[in-house]
């Protein structure tokens, strides 16, 4: 009997400490048939189980073509993620997934892509950036706007430098609190939208981060003439089952874990920003 609730065992192949509170685990299913069958879209997530402690939803950050492993970048925010931060290569976790609907990568082929992210909101979008870079010819201009609260929070600094070197790729960084060595802008990431030469009819925007940041971004994008149907975002809610069953992640009639986490703005416009909904 197939059971969507029971995890498969995965072993940690590598562990990278990205920042004092953020780490990445590279994982591989111990059962090669499970690993071979594992396919996902950028923006989808797995439920990761720490033995005896708990299970949390974590997005998959690598490219779907990486078929022998998958990466999870995790920030320590609670008891389970804190416990996971002590895992080392060779340790094992449980994995269920992938779950949810990812970014509309097929649908947006040929378009300019604007990515706006805040904080560790970058994780679900990093998979998209990697996806775009690997299939550069399929998409138009790429604009990456990454915001952080504090300049020291930015992870993957070198990667942004590498991406910025690519043809038709712009990378703009913003920190609410800048340091001396900070090369980006000081202020809100959403303020960067105004500085862009946006071809509003050709662009799709992919947003990820705190809801207030995304709301501000939507307002700025609309001002730039973008249509609601061209704005996509990834929502964060309490996700436990991953299959639209346990009820925690609901926003209006949508189950974020199953119907999302990626939504088109016009699907959720009625509820987006409704406080406490």
């Amino acid at each position: 009997m197939f059971d969507p609730h029971v995890p498969h065992v995965a072993v940690i192949d590598q562990r990278v400490q990205e920042s004092p509170t953020i780490f990445t685990l590279r994982l591989q299913y111990t059962d090669t048939r499970v690993q071979d069958a594992f396919e996902f879209d950028p923006g989808q997530f797995n439920m990761v189980t720490l033995f005896g402690v708990g299970e949390i939803a974590i997005s998959i950050v690598n490219d779907p073509l990486d078929s022998h492993f998958f990466d999870h970048t995790i920030r320590v925010v609670g008891r389970v993620s804190e416990g996971m931060s002590r895992l080392q290569p060779g340790d094992r976790v449980g994995i269920r997934g992938p779950f949810g609907r990812g970014w509309p990568m097929e649908q947006i082929k040929g378009r300019d892509v604007l990515l706006v992210t805040g904080g560790l909101g970058c994780a679900p979008l990093v998979s998209v950036i990697r996806y775009l870079m690997r299939r550069r010819e399929d998409y138009g201009r790429i604009m990456i706007l990454q915001g952080v609260k504090h300049a020291d929070d930015l992870i993957w600094k070198e990667q942004y430098d590498v991406w910025a070197e690519e043809r038709d790729v712009r990378v703009l960084l913003a920190a609410d609190v800048a340091t001396q060595s900070w090369r980006g802008q000081q202020g809100m990431v959403t303020e960067l939208i105004g500085q862009l030469p946006l071809r509003s009819q050709r662009t799709v925007a992919l947003l990820c981060g705190p809801e207030l940041m995304m709301m501000a971004a939507v307002a700025n994008l609309r001002e730039k003439g973008m249509q609601d149907g061209d704005i996509w975002f990834s929502m964060e809610r309490n996700m436990q089952c991953g299959i639209g069953q346990c009820g925690h992640c609901q926003i209006g009639p949508k189950m974020v874990c199953r119907d999302g986490p990626v939504f088109c703005y016009d699907e959720l416009a009625d509820f987006f920003g409704a406080k406490g909904f």
């Binding site: 389970v80 804190e82 416990g83």
Partner: protein, 262 residues
């Protein structure tokens, strides 16, 4: 905790020892415990080394004497993780009811030589004096919760906190609501779960020994108590009972007392 077994201490302050007894009543599980931790101090059970440095300290009882104040600071310094167990340690306990009374009058009414008694003017929760890492509520504490908290600490994570009211446990167990089916005032809707709905399962209303749940709508519940024939003074005593120093219950009881005088 490299290699060596973590060290555990059980300290007692002002209390009836009932929470320590709840641990002793664990039976077989208690016998398993020494395989996982080194019990260096648990006077009620034998080991006696109150000054030892430990990984986990379980603290029973409230702070009600100057000596308690001094000693709890020492315990804090010597313990990596400090867990308070039971209503006295987490919410002042039954003895804290004296905080609402004229202590001097009571002392001279009860003791022939009250001047020999050296106590503070209040009995208070441990968390009012030192930093507490985790609180386990109840009178007595649930031994199942203590074991599960120890297990989590041994796993290197903080124990999961309960936030739901007793009603949630009643309904999961299929216990019939005493308030709705008998009209008996019950503190379940405002009281933290963890007991497994012990009292309602025995057919009586919850008396709130676990202290406040995450949300305490005391005006609404006490209005209901009044409808059921409990006056405001009596309702106040439901809040000013075992967990009387827990802020939400303390405020609720005081408000009801004030209203009953109006």
């Amino acid at each position: 905790m490299n290699g060596q077994k973590p060290k555990l201490a059980v300290h007692k302050f002002s209390s009836c020892d009932g929470c320590q007894l709840a641990l002793l009543n664990l039976g077989e599980t208690l016998l398993q415990l020494p395989e996982l931790v080194e019990i260096v101090h648990f006077a009620e059970a034998g080991p006696n080394a109150p000054d030892a440095t430990v990984d986990i300290a379980l603290v029973e009882g409230s702070i009600s004497t100057p000596e308690d104040v001094h000693r709890i600071r020492m315990v804090r310094e010597k313990s990596r993780v400090l867990v308070t167990i039971g209503a006295c340690a987490t919410a002042g306990g039954l003895q804290a009811l004296a905080n609402f009374a004229d202590r001097d009058a009571w002392m001279s009414a009860i003791y022939p030589n009250p001047e020999l008694i050296d106590t503070l003017r209040t009995s208070s929760a441990i968390s009012g004096h030192v930093r507490v890492d985790c609180e386990l509520h109840g009178c007595p504490v649930s031994s199942r919760q203590v074991v599960s908290a120890l297990r989590e600490l041994l796993n290197g994570v903080m124990p999961r906190e309960e936030t739901q009211p007793v009603c949630v446990e009643c309904k999961r167990r299929g216990v019939i609501c005493t308030l709705v089916s008998k009209g008996e005032p019950c503190m379940g809707p405002v009281t933290l779960s963890g007991c497994g709905a012990l009292c309602p399962a025995a057919g009586r209303g919850c008396y709130g020994c676990y202290g406040p749940a995450e949300r305490v709508n005391d005006p609404s519940l006490s209005n209901r108590f009044v409808d059921l024939g409990l006056d405001r003074q009596a309702s106040a005593r439901r809040f000013h009972f075992i967990a009387n120093q827990a802020p939400a219950f303390k405020a609720a009881g005081s408000r009801l007392k004030d209203e009953s005088h109006e």
